[in-house]
Symmetry: C2
Subunit: 546 residues, 2 copies
């Protein structure tokens, strides 16, 4: 679902995988559609008084959960391994350091105002929960331009590698499709499919859709742009000639052109002004000392009454006990931490696999804006680093940061290259799509999530299968595909899993936020149930509405 | 060209006219494509010293011309009838008055920060000249969201009037088209059109384009959105079922859905932060006392040496003489002003017709954002006021100003209604597309350009034909369609026409800016030629580089 939706993006540029992944997504999407609802968050104010919760990880899921639990009166502690909140929501600016698990360190030297979101970098308007938190917390948003018609598509293996503009590819493709279909309608090939009335309507429609002339031919279109723009006086403009169908098919241009039609990629999209990390920092400001930074978790134990978590702080091992634990740690980390999780969970966690998506970002003069009239948006090439992603921040300013390469590199030939070789590949993609401009790229930064401490993965790729499925889990549609996922969705005693990997919107902040809300809901229901079951427990808390 | 391109927009909502206008545009576009170039602006610094120019009208064309001529050292005066610069570039805010030619007056009572651009309201990224001036003059720009997939399309006459979301209409339409074409490819209906290899490629392509399943069927798509969104835990989401083809064809939904495919409407688009009039006010700040406000022109006379313009100022008739005149007045006004224009020009001007586009704008709680998740973009209905246009300014703030109705109302039944009836119609369109929200609309403002003093028209619809074509005009492709236009493109002695109506980008600021630049170019060439021809003239100006 979310996973394959994300793969859809990240496999763009991988000629073989794209359409297969896409069709898989469609299939899965329909297959997994179920009506089971997570109930709305309903818990009484102050119902958390006297209950302690420890939250592992200060990413979006942990921050959302802490924010909501605090409001309900719970005593909350967030243990965060890093010196910053946000997890993969990470914005790098001049002066920041990027250190890999092997110690390799890059220091960012970009100028004032330049930044890159190396994790999530856009907020679809359909992601109402995370947008709602932005609004609540005063995080200023601006439009993220996810598609611009002036962007280019390119394929090394066809057409001499010449890039073509999005508006030409999209509109000429539709024109040819319309012309062919118009012909079929006229020649009677669809007489069994369309009524006589619908045939007429279809022909009218195709004339606009193509657009086609009255004879049903596609003769190019102003939609595909101009080789010479219209102007004043006798400058009437010259429309681009139509790219022929054979070239369009041969180039497999459609691998990039359908990108912005995905639900999560459709306009209108947003980004926080100044960097995506404005979101976790806004949560952190609210939460204050609830978040304990530089406190990596080293042990997770169940006790009769709840959990005891061991963590490091300033070189010393410390412990915290709580009634419940919301566990937002990446499973890559969890599998390395000694824990008391039940066997089915351990089996799933041990067997999960993670992607290692990377981004390479460069500072540069904004040649794309100043010389090529491209403002925001993404571009795709079939070979090499792809996509290219232009900044929606500070358009019209002299310099900016672009991405050249944003893909899961796991097991790819690219992953075997040295960092300088990767930068060369990244620059080459700019040169493919924007000949002559590759040399303007400066100060590259490379983040690959598989090598980032405390993550070692960008998002979950596959859920392991438990040998003994959790018995409390009501049997779903019957398929075993998601049994690992479904196991993680169930609390393991006092431990409840949160994080985008416990959602159908993997790799998106919305999934993380919703998993945090769901974790809070499950927790409050247990607290309520426990109180109802135990008159003694209730007696000591008579002032608390349940 | 530009005219029909604009008509394309304004006729959306007019069921009969749309596809005809569109096809006309395509035809004209190809027909009028010519390679004749207006040369780049090339004139020596200070070459204007000693030459006086009077510019009629302080709209964008006049402002651009004044700005450029002043830089070249010309002595420039702009006569502007109103107390503000910008002409149709007009932003209305709380406290502003709108007065029609018959004296009808509306006073705007919108709150702080609310505004509406009643003239031009967007800047396509392809309009590099006007964007360049924004950049030069420090006009801050923000993205104008011209299309959002969450917007609605609606047709009273089909489907019980139920609105459908843009993402469903666009993606289900493509799905059905792809399925039909896939079938035709498979059944051999296109064997004469496609090689065996291209047939295979076409089928692969259509599987992604549709998207189609491996059997070539369109089964709906996540691109078309969800009836229930995916979430955390077991909330896998439910994809919208595909709208059937018959409904899509019957509803003529495509009348709105192709809107943002037009070249001038494609992403990325911009608007000035705070209102479109930031542009003319930025010019005005630069030009200072060069612009004379509240000075309507009453007479235009040629003299042996140039022109003498009579105008009113504070109740008194005044005159200004100049070597040249750049005439940016709307032709609706020019035809009423006594003048010395040559016969062919008068004939053309007298015969021109203008559109009267209107906009009705309302202040409201942002129900579209808060309750319907729509951020910016346009919506279309087939009957009644259309389109609806949501603000891209100050998204996420509590209240905003939306447009319901933006069309040429010339000779329409709508034009016969009273203003309160028009407001009723406008509110009804909101109710059609957003049932239950019509009642939230407040403080309507109605601007129809045909009734605005000093314009009396929104943009030119038709150019008259001169009985005696201007002989200095080199014969073009031979057609007579644009002879009126071509006449206006030629200087009439010392008088040079500027304005978007002397461009192929009618009704856009880019056309106005380019016409201003063209006017300056024609003028500087004449000045240079006159100096080269007259040694006496040159003697008196030996310090001036020509």
């Amino acid at each position: 679902m979310g996973l394959t939706r994300r793969q859809f993006l990240t496999r763009v540029g991988d000629a073989g995988g794209y359409s297969a992944a896409f069709i898989a997504m469609q299939g899965l999407g329909l297959m997994e559609a179920r009506a089971t609802e997570v109930p709305e968050l309903m818990a009484a104010p102050a119902s958390g008084h006297g209950t302690k919760v420890v939250i592992l990880g200060g990413g979006i899921s942990g921050l959302v959960a802490a924010y909501e639990l605090r409001k309900l009166g719970y005593s909350v502690t967030v243990l965060e391994a890093r010196n910053r909140p946000g997890g993969r929501n990470w914005t790098v600016r001049g002066g920041d350091k990027v250190t890999f698990t092997d110690g390799t360190t890059q220091t960012c030297t970009w100028g004032e105002g330049s930044y890159q979101n190396f994790g999530p970098a856009r907020l679809p308007s359909a992601h109402t929960n995370i947008l709602g938190y932005c609004h609540k917390l005063g995080v200023e948003l601006q439009v993220e331009v996810n598609m611009t018609n002036s962007a280019f598509l390119q394929n090394d293996n066809a057409n001499g590698g010449k890039p073509e503009m999005m508006r030409r590819v999209v509109n000429d493709t539709r024109g040819h499709v319309s012309q062919l279909l118009s012909k079929c309608v006229k020649t009677g090939a669809l007489d069994q499919d369309l009524s006589s009335e619908d045939k007429d309507k279809m022909l009218s429609f195709l004339r606009v859709y193509g657009p086609l002339d009255l004879g049903g031919k596609y003769n190019g279109s102003e939609r595909a742009g101009y080789s010479e723009l219209p102007g004043a006086g006798d400058k009437a403009g010259t429309i681009n000639p139509a790219i022929d169908l054979h070239t369009l098919l041969d180039e497999r241009f459609w691998q990039g052109m359908m990108f912005d039609q995905q639900f999560d990629m459709q306009a209108t999209m947003f980004q926080p002004v100044g960097g995506m990390d404005r979101i976790p920092y806004a949560f952190a400001k609210e939460l204050g000392s609830i978040i304990k930074y530089e406190c990596p978790v080293t042990e997770i134990r169940k006790t009769g009454a709840g959990v005891t978590i061991t963590y490091m702080e300033k070189g010393a091992s410390k412990q915290i006990s709580a009634d419940y634990c919301l566990n937002g740690l990446p499973l890559t980390q969890l599998k390395k931490i000694p824990n008391d999780l039940s066997a089915p969970y351990k089996q799933v966690i041990d067997a999960t696999t993670y992607a290692s998506a990377y981004k390479i970002a460069w500072e540069s003069r904004r040649f794309w804006e100043q010389d090529q009239n491209i403002f925001g948006g993404l571009e795709f090439c079939n070979v090499g680093c792809s996509p290219i992603w232009f900044p929606s921040a500070k358009m019209f300013s002299p310099r900016g940061v672009l991405v050249s390469g944003y893909t899961d590199e796991t097991n790819s030939p690219f992953s075997k290259l040295t960092m300088p070789q990767k930068f060369d590949e990244s620059r080459k993609s700019i040169e493919r799509l924007h000949p002559g401009f590759g040399k303007e790229l400066e100060k590259p930064m490379y983040v690959t999530w598989g090598r980032i401490p405390y993550n070692e993965g960008s998002w979950i790729r596959g859920y392991g299968q438990p040998e003994h499925p959790v018995t409390t889990q009501p049997s779903a549609a019957g398929g075993s595909v998601n049994q690992g996922y479904e196991t993680l969705c169930q609390p393991d005693g006092p431990i409840i899993f949160i994080g985008d990997h416990v959602s159908h919107i993997v790799a998106w902040q919305e999934g993380a936020a919703l998993s945090g809300l769901r974790g809070v809901q499950l927790l409050t229901e247990r607290v309520k149930a426990a109180r109802l079951a135990s008159p003694f427990a209730t007696q000591g808390r008579e002032a608390v509405a349940v």
